[in-house]
């Protein structure tokens, strides 16, 4: 009961923040609402007992990605004032399409499928198991992630540098 109440509050907070992200005219405020959405999603992860993912969410999404987005907003000035409409020409169709898609997804999720749910508990040493799996069974994705990060850094630096045009 209590858990469900907490879930409803957290998800309302998350979804309202997300709505503000996609509708607010001021890009900086939009980014701040993005941060609160990330925080709400982290709270959902805690409810799912994925505490490590919750903290990784705060660490990477809020600490790194949101900071990066805010820096980029600051670098391209003048575009956060709502002088022109924040929406493009296809906004109405996008809205209609999104609502249709959303209803479809909700219909499928709620009524169509009977998910094979188990009652198994999350083991207490999940983080340790995760660490073992990263260098054991999932070692290829693990190393590829490192290559991906290296490539992303090189690419981003090449693109964003001011010199050498």
């Amino acid at each position: 009961m209590v858990l469900q109440g907490v879930f409803i509050i957290v998800s309302l907070f998350t979804l309202l923040s997300a709505l503000m992200v996609v509708t607010h005219r001021n890009l900086f405020i939009s980014a701040l609402f993005l941060v609160s959405t990330f925080f709400g999603v982290a709270a959902l992860y805690v409810l799912l007992e994925a505490e490590f993912l919750a903290v990784a969410q705060v660490l990477v999404y809020i600490g790194a990605i949101a900071t990066l987005i805010i820096f980029a907003i600051m670098l391209s000035r003048g575009m956060m004032q709502g002088r022109t409409s924040p929406y493009n020409a296809q906004a109405m169709w996008a809205g209609i399409g999104s609502v249709v898609l959303g209803l479809l997804l909700l219909y499928v999720v709620a009524f169509q499928v009977d998910w094979p749910v188990t009652d198994a508990k999350v083991p207490a040493d999940t983080i340790s198991n995760l660490g073992a799996a990263l260098v054991g069974h999932y070692v290829i994705p693990f190393e590829v992630a490192s290559v991906l990060l290296l490539a992303a850094l090189i690419g981003a630096v090449m693109i964003a540098r001011e010199k050498e045009y």
């Binding site: 900071t67 670098l75 003048g78 983080i127 990263l134 630096v157 540098r161």
Partner: protein, 118 residues
């Protein structure tokens, strides 16, 4: 597990509310006599020239980029560190490769002069 997070949740709410509640209470105690001069932007007494949104150099963004790479690394490093005692030597080798690749990223940034503050 969720019981201990109940404490975190309650603490979070109270710690979040505390500064704002105090601010609200105190707002009845203090004077409020605003005037246009007082409320103007503080800049050594001079009138502000130009827009606040002076454009920032890409420098800041490039520092943040290097930070992002290492921040993501942390997400991989910590579970590995927790599990390390029960793993074999291969864990060390694999993490050495992982960190070595990220060190390459650092070296690249270093050579390209990203880490110089101009």
């Amino acid at each position: 597990m969720l019981n201990s997070y109940a404490v975190v949740g309650v603490y979070l709410l109270i710690a979040l509310a505390f500064p704002f509640v105090v601010l609200y209470i105190v707002s009845f105690l203090r004077p409020s006599k605003p005037n246009p001069l007082k409320n103007s932007t503080y800049e050594c007494g001079m009138e502000t020239i130009g827009d606040t949104w002076v454009q920032f150099r890409a420098q800041y963004y490039l520092f943040a980029l290097v930070f992002v790479i290492f921040d993501v690394e942390v997400v991989f490093l910590y579970p590995w560190a927790v599990a390390y005692n029960k793993l074999g030597l291969f864990a060390l080798v694999e993490m050495a490769i992982f960190i070595g690749l990220l060190a390459l990223a650092l070296v690249y940034a270093w050579k390209k002069g990203i880490l110089e503050w101009q």
